[in-house]
């Protein structure tokens, strides 16, 4: 069952006195219940903006976001609409994802209150994310980054979301914690029947946990497909480059030298295919027209 549909989404960041930054420029994506979708791409390509739009934290400039059949409306000063409480997010920075002044038990209890769950306790959730019961009375500064992300996951899961979003929840953790936290997130989401949109610039982790991969470049999804298929047979030149870069991935979300050039400024994207200035196989048509088709947005893979 399709849980989330993002259709032709455009999100612009406007800063007074500067040109609008089109961080998401016509992206499409679906997530089904029980499915784990890995969203990958270099930093600055618009992954966080897409995730925030799905939560309603930034308004869409155009396009549609549908969650469980209803539209996602941007969150203003009013309380979040009940129908949207089923979307929860785990953020990137473990050092600002928890309120430093409140006990973690109270913060997890906020999640339980959303689900109206009176039988589960914060201790149960701590246990579920692999932390000892009895830590509820502690404050966030008593925990490591990896532990904090587990607590943030516990708080999000306590709300029994139908869709869990992780916006690079592991990229600030050390290598040993990364895979553990990622698999934990997958297990907990899938076993509760929720969909998981897992954002990362690290393909090697996404490969382990995602059922399907969506590759994002400069505000657009350029290729989607089942993880194994994309892994074995990447079709978009950008996906190929990303996969080729894995052994040397520097963890900072930048591609090594094999792929020439930097990510262009999203305020002033190149005409035609947005990837053509960096593409090793660019053709004339790539400079002239934008390839607007799925599942591979590339003129080499134009559907018949």
């Amino acid at each position: 069952m399709t849980l989330l549909t993002v259709d032709d989404l455009v999100v612009e960041h406007r800063t007074p006195g500067r040109p609008a930054v089109r961080a998401v420029a016509g992206a499409g994506l679906t997530v089904s219940s029980g499915e784990v979708v890995g969203l990958v791409g270099e930093s600055g390509c618009g992954k966080s903006t897409l995730a925030r739009a799905v939560c309603g934290l930034v308004p869409a400039t155009s396009g549609n976001i549908t969650f469980q059949g209803g539209p996602v409306r941007p969150l203003g000063l009013r309380r979040r609409h009940r129908s949207l409480l089923g979307i929860q997010m785990v953020f990137q920075d473990p050092y600002s994802s928890l309120n430093p002044r409140r006990k973690i038990g109270a913060q997890i209890a906020d999640g339980l209150a959303v689900a109206g769950d009176t039988t589960t306790t914060p201790a149960d959730l701590l246990e579920r994310v692999g932390l000892p019961r009895g830590f509820e009375g502690r404050h966030p500064h008593e925990f490591s980054g990896g532990q904090r992300q587990r607590i943030a996951i516990a708080r999000a899961l306590a709300a029994r979301p139908a869709l869990l979003i992780g916006d690079e929840p592991i990229s600030a953790l050390d290598a040993s914690a990364q895979a553990k936290v990622a698999t934990l997130m997958r297990e907990l989401a899938v076993s509760s029947g929720a969909g998981l949109l897992f954002i990362s610039h690290d393909l090697s982790v996404v490969r382990i946990i995602a059922d399907r991969i969506a590759v994002m470049y400069l505000g657009k999804i350029v290729e989607t497909g089942p993880t194994a298929e994309v892994w074995a047979n990447p079709r978009h030149p950008y996906t190929k480059a990303l996969l080729g870069a894995i052994p040397a991935a520097d963890g900072a979300g930048h591609l090594p030298a094999e792929l020439a050039g930097d990510v262009p400024d999203p305020a002033d994207p190149p005409g035609g295919c947005r990837f053509h200035p960096r593409c090793p196989v660019a053709m004339d048509v790539c400079r002239a027209k934008e390839p607007d088709f799925t599942p591979v947005a590339c003129w080499l893979h134009e559907p018949a």
């Binding site: 939560c55 934290l57 969150l75 000063l77 009013r78 309380r79 979040r80 009940r82 409480l85 979307i87 929860q88 997010m89 953020f91 990137q92 920075d93 600002s96 994802s97 928890l98 309120n99 430093p100 002044r101 409140r102 913060q107 906020d110 999640g111 209150a113 959303v114 943030a152 708080r155 999000a156 709300a159």
Partner: protein, 287 residues
């Protein structure tokens, strides 16, 4: 290792500096004096039965004034007038300015526009002059002087709180709370305000000295406390009339000076104990 030395080791670096210790000792002394003035003062601060304008000596440590009152006793009693009023004044400024600034920063739009317009209006005038004008318009009394200082003091809290709240509002745990269905008020109360109180308390401590100076300044100008009251500013003012008897104005003046310095030392120490970014945020002050 003894318990004392272990405790000392835990004191933050900033608190071990001499200025912090001096400030703390002076402030504490004045607080004790304010509480215990009736026990400490050798004479009735209002009784006019002593020799007039007697210079400082063994009987009258700070001398007597032109009406035959013991200045030492009056300075001690003055602590009961000035210190509680100054503290009340700062607490009210923090509450009013902090709440308005927090709403401006969190809700933005017209709330922000309105609050900051008023704050800018106050900032547009020189502080002392505006306080004088307001005090004069309200009529000379100590209560009105407090109100006048309040009028000029709240905007700096509003401005600082607004900035801190705007930064805090985008923090990920605040967003997480909103995603869990927190109302704006709940978010402000639970997630935002508890995380901005530290810097605001520092600002308040720094402001105690300034507020006292302003309050006694108004009394000095005849816009605050009225004569028999042993208010320090009013005492300095009456001392100026008898310039040759230097002790009449000097001792209440020194009282003001020591309180102001003590709280500035304390405030500076607290500020240095904060992280540098927040410290910079509260450095922009009007008073």
């Amino acid at each position: 290792m003894s318990r004392l030395s272990r405790r000392r080791r835990r004191l933050p670096e900033a608190w071990r500096r001499p200025l912090a210790v001096v400030g703390g000792v002076i402030a504490l002394t004045w607080l004790i004096v304010a509480v215990a003035a009736p026990l400490l003062a050798p004479y009735d601060p209002l009784a006019q039965e002593l020799p007039r304008l007697a210079p400082p000596g063994p009987d009258h440590w700070f001398g007597t004034d032109q009406l035959g009152r013991d200045i030492f006793s009056r300075v001690l009693y003055g602590a009961r007038v000035s210190i509680p009023l100054t503290l009340l004044l700062v607490v009210l400024s923090v509450l009013i300015g902090g709440l308005l600034g927090a709403c401006a920063g969190y809700f933005g739009r017209w709330v922000d526009e309105t609050v900051m317009r008023f704050a800018d209006l106050v900032f547009a005038f020189p502080t002392v002059i505006l306080a004088m004008v307001v005090a004069a318009a309200l009529g000379a009394s100590l209560t009105n002087a407090v109100l006048a200082v309040l009028v000029v003091a709240w905007p700096s809290y509003a401005r600082v709180t607004r900035g801190l709240v705007m930064g805090m509002r985008e923090r990920e745990f605040v967003l997480s709370g909103r995603l869990l269905g927190f109302s704006a008020w709940r978010s402000l109360r639970l997630d935002v305000l508890p995380n901005v109180t530290g810097p605001i308390l520092v600002l308040a401590t720094l402001d105690i000295g300034t507020a006292l100076l302003l309050l006694s300044g108004l009394s000095f100008l005849g816009l605050g406390a009225k004569p028999p009251s042993p208010e320090w500013g009013a005492m300095v003012s009456s001392g100026v009339e008898v310039f040759d008897s230097w002790w009449v104005a000097t001792f209440p003046g020194l009282a003001i000076l020591t309180v102001v310095l003590a709280f500035n030392f304390l405030g500076d120490t607290l500020r240095d104990a904060l992280d540098p970014r927040t410290a910079r945020a509260i450095k922009v002050r009007a008073l």
